[in-house]
Symmetry: D2
Subunit: 308 residues, 4 copies
C-alpha cells in the first residue's frame, strides 16, 4: 500500500532533512541553544519540583498489545547479603528487564521509518538487531533540558480529560497557549495534556491504552511552525488512536520522527503539573528530561522533572 | 564478627535517624528546599549542558566481579516492522536487561544494611525478593535536582587521576573546595572527582574496577558537617578499595546510606565537567539527576546533567 | 494463622524426611533406580514420540496473576549479521527473559516451605536472593527419565475436561489406573490429565489459570502409597484452585514438595498423549523430562518427551 | 568477499534441499524414524543415566566474546513469600535472562545463512527481530530423541584432549568409530568428544572459548554419507577455530545448517559419558535431547540425557 497524497503534502512542508547538515543525528534538539537554556533557568521562580514519570513497576501501563514492550520485571539479585562474612555490612542489589518504551519514555529518531528511510535520509536498513540504531541512536540526544511549556488542552476545553479517540487539533494548541499566557518559541519542549493518563492512574489500563485521544495529523505543522524542540504527552499512543484517516497508521510518528527529526515523549504524567501550573498561573518552566543513554537505542526511559 | 569501635564512634556522630521524623524515607534529600532549588537555577550563566552518564552498552563497566550486576543486554524486539501491512509506517522497538547499579546510578537508601537495620531504624528484613524495598525505595527519592558542586580532587592535587587504592580525605575535600572558590552548603549535591573513570574510558575495565581510589571513612563527617544532600563520584566502588581498615568493608556505604540517609552516586563521568569548570573557573552549577523511579528499587540508573 | 490439624495429620503420613539420609536433596527421585529405567526403556514398542511442552512464546499461559512469573520475552541480538565481513557466513542469535515456572516446568523441592522448613528439614532461610536454593536446587534433580504412566482422569470420567474448580480424588486416580490397565509402581512418573489445558489451547488464558481443576489434598497419600517419583499435570495451579478447605492454600504443594520431597510438573500438554494412548490402548511409556539445570533453581523449564 | 570454490564444491555434495520436500523445516531430523527410536530404546541395558548439560549459572562458559550471548542471570522474584498471609505456605520463584545459545544448546537451522539463504532455500530475510525465525524455528525440531553414538576422538587419539586449534578430521571419526565398535547409521545423533570442555571445568574459560579444537570442513561429508540426524560436541565454537582456510569463517556451520539442514549441539559435557562408555565398552545408547521449544528460536537450551 502507499501513503495518501495528503500525508506526503504535509511531509514536504515539515521536512527538516539537511537543515542541520547531512550528518545531523539530533534534529530539532539542535534548537535548544545555550541561550534557550539560560532563559529556561530564568523561568524558575518558586523552586518547586514536579516529577513527570510514572513509577516503574511490573503492573505498568503495558497490556500486552504491543509485543515485546514488556513492563519492568524488577528482581532482586541479593537481599542483605553479607558478602564479606557474617556480621559485616550487607548489600542488596536489583536488576530489571523492560521494554525501553514500556513506561515514561522518549521515542528516539530511529524508532520509525517509512519508504525505507529514517530522519535525514538515512537508510532504515541501518537499524539492525546486531548494531541497533547506527544513526540517530537515543544516546546522541544528549542531556535534554530546555524550557518546558504545558499546553493543557483538557483544561482549555474545560474537561477533566479528552474523550477516547478524540484528536488534539492545532486549534486546541492555540487555545491552550492562550490559556497558558505564554508564546511557544524555538527550542521549547511542549507538553500536551489530554488527561488520558487518569485512566491508568485510576486502574483501567485497557481504557488507557486504546482507544486514545492524541495528536492530530494537523499538529506537526503547528510544532514545525513554532520550531519546537520536542513534544511529549500523557498517552500510550501519542497520536490519536485509531487514526483519523482510514488505514493511515502512525502518521504523526512518521512526520515527527522521520520528517522533522523531532523526539516524542509518551506516558508522561502531567496531572500534578497541571494542578501546579493552574495554581501558580504560569505554564512555562525549566524541564530536565535526559533520556537514559542507551547506545543505538530507538527509545529510552526518562524521569522528567519540571521546575517551577 | 563485629564492626570496630572506631566505626561506631563515627556512626554516632553522623547519625540522622529521626531528624526528619520517624516516617522519613529520603534522608538528606530533605535538605533540598525550594530555596536551594531557586539558588541552583540562578547558577546557570552560560547555558552549557554537560552529560555525566556513561553510555549504556553491553561493554559497560561491569567485569563480572559483582554477581548479578550485569551490563545492559540491549536487544531489538522489532526492526522496521510494518505492523499494519506492507508499505505502512514501520517501527523498531528495543528492550533491556541490566543491573540497576550496573552503570551510572544512585544507590538508594535500602542498598545497604548492617546490624539488621536500614536508615531511620527500619528493619533490614523489610527488603525482600517479593516486595523489594518497602521502605526507602529509590522511587521515593523523587526528582533529584539541586545545586551541584564539583570537588575536583585530582585537579587540586595536580594529578590526572588519583592512584589505585588512594583515599580521598577531608583535607582533599577542603583543598578542592578552595580550588573551586565556592562554599559547599546545605542541600548541595557534591561531585567528587578522582579521575579514575579515565581507566574505563581508555579501555581498561579491570583497572577501573579494582583497586580503586575513593572516599575515606573520614569523609562522611565532612559531608555531614556541610549538610550535603547527596554525593557522587567517578569510581565503581565509591569508597576507597580495598578498605583503609582491615576487614572493615563498605564502611562509607554504611555511614552514608544507613546512618545519614544520604544517597550515593557511582560511575559518573566527571571528565568533561572538570574541563568545563576549569575553563569557566566556576565549580557550582545546576544539577538535574532524577533516578529512574523503580518502585522498591535499592538503586537506579540516572542520566545526570550539569548546566553551567 | 496456623495450618489445620487435618493437614498436619496427612503431613505425618506422607513424610519422607530422612528416608534417603539426612543429606538427601532429591527426595522421591531416588525411587528411579536403574532397574526402573531399564523397564521404562522396554515399554517402547511403536517408537512414536510425543512432545508434552507448550511452545515457548510471549503469548504464553501467564496472565500477570502471579507476579514475576513472566512469559518469555524472546528477542533477537543478531539477525543475519555478517560478523566477519560482507559476504561471509551470517549468524542470527537470540536471548530470552522468562520466569522459570512460566511455562511447562518442574517445581523444584525448594519452591515451597512452611513452618520455616524445606524438604528434609532444611531451613527455609537457606533460600536467598544471592545464593538461591543452596539445598534442593533443581540442578540436583539430574536427568529425570523413567517410566511414565498417564492417568487420564478426564477420559475415565467420560468428559472432555474436568469442570473449573473440580478436585481430582484418589478415586479418580484409581479409575484412571483401571482405564489404563497398568499398575502404578515405585519410580513411575505419573501424568494426571484433567483436560484443563484445552482452555489455553483454545485461546482463553484467564479461564485456564483460574478457577482450575487439580489435585485434591487427598491425593498425596495415594502417590505416597504408590511410591511415585514425580507427578505432573495439565494445569497452571497443579492442585485444585480455589482450595478445598477454606484458607488452606497450596496444601498439595506443601505435602509433595516439603513433606514427600516429590517434584511436581505444571502446564504439561497431555492432549496429544491422551489421544495416542487411547489409540494404542496403552498408558505406560518411556518419559524423558530432564529439567534445565539452573544452579539453585526453585523451578525449571522442561521439554518432556513421551516415547510409546 | 566470496566464499572459495572449495567450499562450494563441498556444499553441492552435501546439499539436502528438497530431499524431504520443499516445505520441510527439520532437515536431517527426518532421519529419526520410529524404527530408529525403537532401536534406540533397545540399546538400554544398564539403565544408567548420564546428564550431558553444563549447569546453568552466571559464571557460565560465555566470556563476552560473542556479544549478546549472555550467561544466565538467574534472579529470585520471591523468597519464601507468604502470599496468602502470615503462617501460610510460602513460595519462592525465580526468573532468568540468558542467551539461548549461552550454555549447552542446539543450533536451530535458522542460526546461520549465507548468500541470503537458509536451509531449503528459504530467504534469510524471513528471520526478523519481530517474528524471529518464521521458517525452521527450533520449536519445529520437536522431541529430539534417538540413538546416540559417542565418537571419542580424544580417547581414540590416546590423549586427554585435543590441542587448541586442532581439527577433527574424517579419519578421526573413522578411528573413533573403530574404537566404539559400532557403525554409525541413519538417524543416529553423533557426539564428538574433543575433551576441550575440561578447560572450562577446570576454570579456564578463556582457553575453553578460543582457540578451540573442533570439526574440520572435511567432516560434513562424513556426516552426510552416514546420514546422521544431528551432531554435538564439547566445544564453544563447534568447528575448529580459528578456521582451517584463511578468511573462511564458520564453513562447517554453513554446511551443516544451511546445506544439510542438520542441527548442531555445542557446549555438551561428554566427560562423564566418555568414562562410562569406556567402562561399559559400548558407545551407543538412548539419547534424549529435546530443545526447549522457543517459537521462532534460532537456538535453544537443552538438557540432554544419555541412557546406557
Amino acid at each position: 500500500m502507499t501513503l495518501p497524497t495528503e500525508f506526503h503534502d504535509i511531509a514536504k512542508r515539515v521536512n527538516n532533512w539537511g537543515r542541520w547538515g547531512e550528518a545531523d543525528e539530533i534534529g530539532t534538539l539542535n534548537l535548544i541553544t545555550e541561550e534557550v537554556v539560560r532563559e529556561a533557568a530564568r523561568t524558575v521562580t518558586s523552586g518547586r519540583r514536579l516529577p513527570l514519570a510514572l513509577p516503574l513497576r511490573q503492573d505498568g501501563v503495558q497490556t500486552g498489545l504491543i509485543p515485546g514492550r514488556v513492563n519492568p520485571l524488577h528482581t532482586m539479585v541479593a537481599v542483605n547479603a553479607e558478602l564479606f562474612g557474617p556480621g559485616t555490612v550487607a548489600t542488596s542489589d536489583d536488576a530489571v528487564t523492560m521494554g525501553l518504551q514500556a513506561a515514561t519514555h522518549w521515542d528516539g529518531l530511529a524508532h520509525v521509518s517509512y519508504g525505507g528511510r529514517l530522519y535525514n535520509g538515512r537508510p532504515a536498513s541501518s537499524v539492525t538487531a546486531h548494531d541497533r540504531a547506527v544513526f540517530h541512536g537515543v544516546e546522541k540526544a544528549g542531556p535534554v533540558l530546555s524550557r518546558g511549556v504545558l499546553l493543557d488542552v483538557a483544561r482549555a476545553r474545560g474537561v477533566d480529560r479528552l474523550d477516547a479517540g478524540q484528536a488534539v487539533t492545532p486549534q486546541d494548541l492555540d487555545a491552550a497557549e492562550e490559556l497558558a499566557g505564554v508564546r511557544v518559541r524555538a527550542g521549547d519542549i511542549v507538553l500536551v495534556r489530554t488527561g488520558q493518563v487518569q485512566r491508568y492512574l485510576t486502574g483501567d489500563k485497557e481504557a488507557y491504552a486504546y482507544p486514545s485521544p492524541g495528536l492530530s495529523i494537523r499538529t506537526p505543522e503547528w510544532f514545525h511552525a513554532h520550531d519546537v524542540a520536542a513534544v511529549a504527552n500523557d498517552t500510550l499512543t501519542f497520536e490519536v488512536f485509531p487514526p483519523e484517516i482510514e488505514n493511515l497508521w502512525l502518521p504523526v510518528h512518521a512526520l515527527h520522527l522521520v520528517e522533522m527529526g523531532m523526539p516524542q515523549g509518551q506516558n508522561w504524567n502531567l496531572e500534578e503539573l497541571s494542578q501546579a501550573c493552574a495554581e501558580e498561573r504560569r505554564y512555562a518552566f525549566l524541564l530536565a528530561a535526559p533520556p537514559e543513554p542507551f547506545v543505538g537505542g530507538v527509545g529510552a526511559p526518562v524521569a522528567p522533572v519540571a521546575v517551577l
